[in-house]
Amino acid sequence: MPETNSWNGTDRILLEVVTPTKVELRKEVDYVVAPTIQGMIGIMPRHIRLMTILDTGVLRYKINDENFYMAVSEGYMEVMPHKVIVLAEAAELAENIDVEQALAEKRQAEAELYRPMAEKISFARAQVNLQWALTKLQVAKKHHHSKEDK
C-alpha cells in the first residue's frame, strides 16, 4: 500500500536535515533539489527509494512556490517516497549565515591555498573550507535576491 499523506490533502515531502550537532531543519516541502557528487538532483513526492552521497553545495527546497536555500557540506541523502533525510557534516539555513564570517573564512582558505607548498598544512582541508565558505556566500546571495523579488 502506498504511503498516504494526511497534510493538506496534497503530496508533500518531509525534509529533514541533520548534522552531528543539530537537527537543522524539519519541514514539509513540495520539492527538493540537492547537490549530489554526480550533479544536482530534484526530488518530488513519491520518488523511488534512493541513497546517495552529497557534495558541498546549495540545497534548495520549495514550499508553495517559494524557494528556500540552505548550505550543506558533504554527507548523505536517503530518499523515501515521502521523506528525505539529509545527513550532512554541516548545514546552515540562509537566514543564519553570517556573510562577514563567511568572507573571512574564504579569505583564510584562499591564503592557505596560495602559500608555498612546503608550508601547507593540508591542501585538502583548505579546499574543503574554501568550498564551504563559497557555498555559504552563494546561499546568502540567493536568499537576498529571493527576498528582493518579493
Binding site: V18, T19, P20, T21, K22, V23, T36, I37, Q38, I48, R49, L50, M51, T52, I53, G75, Y76, E78, I85, L87
Partner: protein
C-alpha cells in the same frame, strides 16, 4: 567530652563544606544541562546514520568492505573505555572501569584483550588495580569536538584494517537521566548488520554512485558518529553522577551539622544550668549571711 569551642569550630567547618558541595552541585547541574542538550542534538544524527549504515550493510555481502568483514583469526579484542578526567562524581568512573574489566574477562579465556583508556580517572583506576593499559587518550575529554572523535576513529579504523585487532568494542556509560547511567559495551567493529531492522518493503532501491562506494564512504562517518556519541554520553553521565554525589554530600553535611548542633546545645544547656546553680547557691549563702 568535646569542648563547646571545638564543636563551634566543627559546625562552622561543616557548614563551609556544605556550601562548597552545594555550589559544586549547582555547577554540575548547569553543565549537565548543556551537555544534555549537546547529547540530545547529536543523537538524531547518530541514530539516522546508524540506521542507514546497518540497513546498507545488511543488504550488502560483507566482502564489499574490509570493515564489515570479520577477520580470519579471531583472538585480539580492543575495548575502548570512556571515562572522565575529573573526580568527585561518586563511583562513576571506577564503576565503568571495573565493569569494562569484567566485560573483558567475560569475552573468554583464550582471547587477548587490550584496553584503550579515555579519560584520566579510568586510567588511574586501571593503574590502581594493576590492569595493563594498551594506550591512553591524552586529550581532555570534557567538551570534546567532532574533529577529535574523527581523529580517534581514523586510528581505530587503521588498527582494524591492518588486522591489529579482530574486534573493537566501545565501553561507555549510556545516559538515561542524572540519576541513572548504565555502563554498557557496544561492538563497533566489525559492523554487525544483524542489528539492522531490514524493512519489509525494501523493493527497488537505487544506490548512487554505487553500493560499494556508498558503503566505503559512509562507514567511517558511522564510526565517527558512534565515537562522538560515546564521548557525549559519558560526559553527560559524569556530570549527572557528580550532581547526585554532591547533592548526597550536601545532605550528609546537613545531617552532621544537625548532630553537632544537638551536642552543642546539650553542652550549652549544661553550662547554663551549672551557672544558675552557682548563682542560686551564692544567693542562698548571701541570704543566710544576712540572717545571722
Amino acid at each position: 567530652m568535646k569542648t563547646i569551642h571545638e564543636l563551634k569550630f566543627r559546625i562552622a567547618g561543616t557548614k563551609n563544606i556544605q556550601q562548597i558541595t552545594m555550589a559544586m552541585k549547582m555547577v554540575a547541574a548547569a553543565r549537565l544541562k548543556k551537555a544534555q542538550a549537546r547529547l540530545e542534538s547529536a543523537r538524531p544524527y547518530a541514530r539516522k546514520i546508524a540506521e542507514v549504515t546497518l540497513d546498507l550493510a545488511a543488504l550488502t555481502p560483507w566482502s564489499f568492505n574490509p570493515l564489515l568483514r570479520p577477520h580470519h583469526y579471531f583472538i585480539r579484542d580492543l575495548i575502548i573505555v570512556f571515562t572522565g578526567d575529573r573526580g568527585l562524581a561518586g563511583n562513576f568512573h571506577s564503576e565503568i572501569a571495573d565493569q569494562a574489566v569484567e566485560f573483558g574477562k567475560r569475552l573468554g579465556k583464550k582471547r587477548k584483550v587490550s584496553y584503550y583508556m579515555i579519560g584520566l580517572k579510568g586510567y588511574h583506576r586501571f593503574l590502581e588495580k594493576g590492569v595493563p593499559v594498551f594506550k591512553r587518550f591524552k586529550e581532555p575529554v570534557a567538551g570534546v569536538s567532532f574533529r577529535l572523535a574523527r581523529i580517534l576513529a581514523k586510528e581505530i579504523i587503521d588498527w582494524y584494517t591492518k588486522e591489529e585487532f579482530d574486534r573493537i568494542f566501545l565501553f561507555y556509560s549510556k545516559f538515561y537521566s542524572a540519576l541513572c547511567q548504565r555502563p554498557r559495551p557496544f561492538q563497533l567493529l566489525p559492523i554487525d548488520p544483524a542489528k539492522a531492522k531490514i524493512k519489509e518493503e525494501s523493493g527497488l532501491f537505487i544506490f548512487e554512485p554505487s553500493r560499494k562506494k556508498l558503503l566505503d564512504s559512509i562507514i567511517p562517518r558511522y564510526i565517527e558518529s558512534e565515537i562522538f556519541r560515546a564521548f557525549l554520553e559519558t560526559e553527560a553521565g559524569e556530570l549527572g553522577a557528580r550532581m547526585t554525589a554532591m547533592s548526597a554530600a550536601a545532605d550528609n553535611a546537613a545531617k552532621i551539622i544537625e548532630h553537632y548542633q544537638l551536642e552543642f546545645n546539650q553542652i550549652r544547656q549544661t553550662m547554663i544550668t551549672n551557672e544558675i546553680v552557682e548563682i542560686v547557691g551564692g544567693a542562698e549563702v548571701l541570704k543566710n549571711e544576712g540572717k545571722e
